[in-house]
């Protein structure tokens, strides 16, 4: 396998983007990624395009968006791994370059979630499990899946609703400093606790927002990166992925995501690193409970100690391991297919010490970063470790 570097990244503004269609939105990520890499669309040999889809008018979004962005002719596919689709696309493009099949490839993530109303979106993503045995008779919603986990975590480890609120407060604080974020405002524990109950114990401010967005990354082989004279290549050091059952009833417990544990073990193994080596991370905080479980599943702390990490400020800038200092899914927004590529964008910027704005730059010594992207309720998990 060849060494592979991220040589260009781009990111649209996340939000209710009724000003653009999905192709125009994708362009907002693709153009800056190509400019960043110093390449044109014709230089891209392979494109993996992530979108969960089914919530907007196009049946073949990869083809439509690739045409619009001048990428027609490249090898092309659409990747679906629910909320981890962007990481699945990144892995696919990584493997294409690492194997020598392509010298330059692109991973694009895009989702357009606001062309349908909110109850319809809940109808669509509530089916992200086992339709007949969960949604059909019991109306599972996406927040309800994570609320089930929250109830078990609270019962077993004494995690409280206030602990969950602290995750929202931290991530909004950084979202307020991120010009690409959906919510550029801070929040408070009281505001989170007083917000509308969605699926007990999760309230509106425990949930990431439905929103539109796109992000893209250009990957190149080591030879190609050197040939292009890339200043600061960001190397893909480890990738790991795993999965879990469709039916919630078949999980061994509801206090962590098994797929996160095994995906991270595989990524750490490939990189020859462990959780103590990670200096900055983006983790999948689609709901506040998910960030606490991620701390535990990724080995940033022991099982049941996630709440202590957020209480003690360990995951803020200045703490041992800053997490989601781009605002996370919670405040930056979670356009489903875009999120995995958005994480790569953020970590690439962090490792180059180019975080927007400067207050969001993590202090780095060894320049090692980790992205953790979950699809569904731990149905899929992808962990990517990047190094400068």
């Amino acid at each position: 396998m060849k060494r592979v570097a991220v040589i260009g990244v781009g990111h649209s503004t996340f939000g209710v983007r009724k000003d653009v269609n999905l192709s125009e939105l994708t362009f907002e990520a693709v153009r800056p990624a190509l400019d960043d890499a110093g390449l044109s669309g014709k230089d891209i040999e392979f494109v993996s395009f992530a979108s969960a889809g089914g919530m907007y008018e196009e049946a073949l979004p990869a083809v439509v968006a690739a045409e619009y962005c001048g990428l027609t002719g490249a090898g092309l596919l659409r990747c679906e791994a629910a909320c981890a689709s962007g990481s699945a696309a990144f892995l696919t493009s990584y493997l294409n370059v690492a194997s020598g099949h392509a010298d330059v490839a692109m991973a694009i993530g895009m989702e357009k979630m606001t062309e349908v109303d909110t109850p319809t979106m809940m109808e669509l993503i509530g089916r992200a499990g086992s339709y007949l045995w969960e949604f059909h008779n019991f109306g599972t919603t996406f927040p309800s899946y994570y609320a089930l986990y929250a109830s078990a975590h609270m019962a077993r480890f004494g995690t409280t609703e206030e602990d969950l609120a602290l995750v929202a407060v931290k991530n909004h604080r950084y979202g307020a400093l991120n010009p690409k974020a959906r919510f550029q405002r801070e929040t408070t524990v009281d505001e989170v606790l007083a917000s509308y109950p969605v699926a007990w114990p999760l309230k509106l401010f425990d949930c990431c927002p439905i929103c539109d967005g796109a992000a893209a990354a250009v990957l190149a082989s080591e030879e190609k990166a050197r040939e292009l004279g890339v200043d600061t290549p960001i190397w893909v050091s480890g990738v790991g992925c795993s999965s879990d059952t469709a039916n919630m009833g078949k999980r061994p417990d509801y206090v962590g995501l098994k797929a996160s544990v095994s995906a991270s073990e595989r990524a750490y193994g490939m990189a020859g690193l462990g959780p103590d080596d990670i200096e900055v991370a983006t983790v999948h905080d689609c709901f506040t409970i998910a960030e606490l479980m991620a701390y535990e599943d990724l080995g940033f702390c022991g099982k049941g100690e996630g709440a202590a990490l957020i209480r003690e400020g360990v995951t803020e800038i200045g703490g041992k391991i800053p997490v989601n200092i781009d605002g996370g899914l919670k405040a930056k927004g979670h356009p489903i297919g875009a999120t995995g590529c958005s994480m790569i964008y953020e970590l690439t910027k962090q490792l180059r010490e180019e975080a927007e704005r400067r207050q969001r730059q993590a202090p780095l010594e060894r320049y090692i970063a980790l992205a953790h992207n979950v699809g569904g309720t731990g149905h899929y998990c992808y962990v990517t470790i990047l190094r400068r």
Partner: protein, 143 residues
Amino acid sequence: MWNAMPSIRSRPLNLVFEIPTSRTQKFWQWIEGGEFHTTRCRGCGTLLFPPVADCPGCLSSEMEWVKLEGRGVVDAFTHVIARPTSFQQHEPYTIAIVRLREGVRVLAWLMDVDITKVEVGMSVRLEVGKTPEGEASYWFVPS
């Protein structure tokens, strides 16, 4: 500002899927008869819920139906307030994942319960019957 943006409304697309159930039809017939059954693999002896025609463990397609008592404890639960389009006519509902004494877990609504009293570890039992819409279903009640 963005909400006031011009747009073109797409042609409507209403999808309803016909989901084949012939391989596990007995499950729904047992429900109609007032009993809760699931499948056990004759190849490896694993009890499987939801009921299936094929075993993911040993890949055998030899299954037998087993009646479940339906008593168990709540492993996880949530009260769903924000509901999807097709559940808008329902009152908010409680979803629980229950570990049955027989060893399998079942996700279903927990009904006839004071929601302030629901907790992980509480004892419940399964009931079977018809939903207000006339569909065969099953749910938990406190025991």
